[in-house]
Symmetry: C2
Subunit: 180 residues, 2 copies
């Protein structure tokens, strides 16, 4: 336990894999997203973008596409019932784009936790946004250019019963070496 | 300005590019590094490792190798005088390794800021740790296996004169879209 609030949030944040259907208020989503935009980026070029999806029909289509890439049975929801999906993509023309987009994802997840909102990084955004259907969807939002999917940060209220909450695994042996 | 300490830290953190030579106390480095180990990783596999370098000779050799990759003149210090270099590497056998290592870097930089320590992501770790010389160095620390360099998180005390501190650029237009 650190005396530092920010570090405590890092240590206590867990990936949430069970959500209530309740929508997160818009002002909270906006605060989380704003935190995401302040992630460091290579040469300060701000290569990522964030598409914040709360529209249920779009969220469900994304879920279906994601499950299909994973090869899960029809009806399985890779977003664990979360009502909000923050899609992070980044501009491939910037050579730090994967690192940049990942830092945005990190800020989103941690900001969510700090506000009492559950989150989880859901992968396969790269494969998804390589598909013509989803490139067209981006274009319909006015997003042109070579954006690669970095991740989906799902958001919502955790729906764990008492005692069912995820617990941090021990950190692995030899995670850290000191050369002093 | 957010009322939330963690989000404020995200918004106020800047990349520091001018450092005093003063060493950061070990207990502070340990707290920052611990925060790094709690970053989310794909399937919780903890694919990254952190090598915390405070040994000046090693730090200077790393700086020289980094500058050589960048092509800067001899004597230029890509680490901006920072006395501490936290090298993050990640196991290429884990398919989320670049994302995982980036999240560790994000936690390190934010944890540092929250403790009043300046930091900056210095790239070219990928190229560095692909070199036989640095692979051997890892091996000498007992680190075997296919680790790719993700980044150097340099740490130290900022050495800006009053008014010289970096200011956040405006976030780009269209960083965020809402689909609601």
């Amino acid at each position: 336990m650190s005396k530092n609030t920010t570090i405590n949030d890092m240590i206590e944040r867990r990936s949430v894999k069970k959500y209530k259907p309740d929508m997160v208020p818009k002002n909270i989503i906006e605060e989380i997203v704003k935190a995401g935009t302040y992630a460091a980026t290579g040469r300060g070029l701000q290569s990522p973008i964030i598409v914040a999806v709360t529209d249920k029909a779009v969220r469900d289509r994304l879920s279906k596409a994601n499950g299909a890439i994973m090869g899960t049975p029809d009806g399985y929801d890779p977003f664990y019932g979360a009502p909000v999906v923050l899609v992070v993509l980044a501009d491939k023309n910037c050579n730090t784009y994967v690192y940049d987009g990942s830092l945005v994802m990190g800020n989103l997840m941690l900001a969510a936790h700090s506000l009492g909102i559950g989150s989880c990084w859901i992968h396969r955004a790269k494969e998804e946004f390589a598909m013509p259907e989803w490139k067209e969807w981006l274009a319909s939002l006015g997003i042109e250019g070579e954006y690669e999917g970095i991740g989906h940060c799902i958001l919502g209220y955790a729906d764990y019963a008492k005692g069912e909450e995820p617990v941090a695994k021990d950190r692995k042996k030899d995670y850290v070496r000191f050369v002093e």
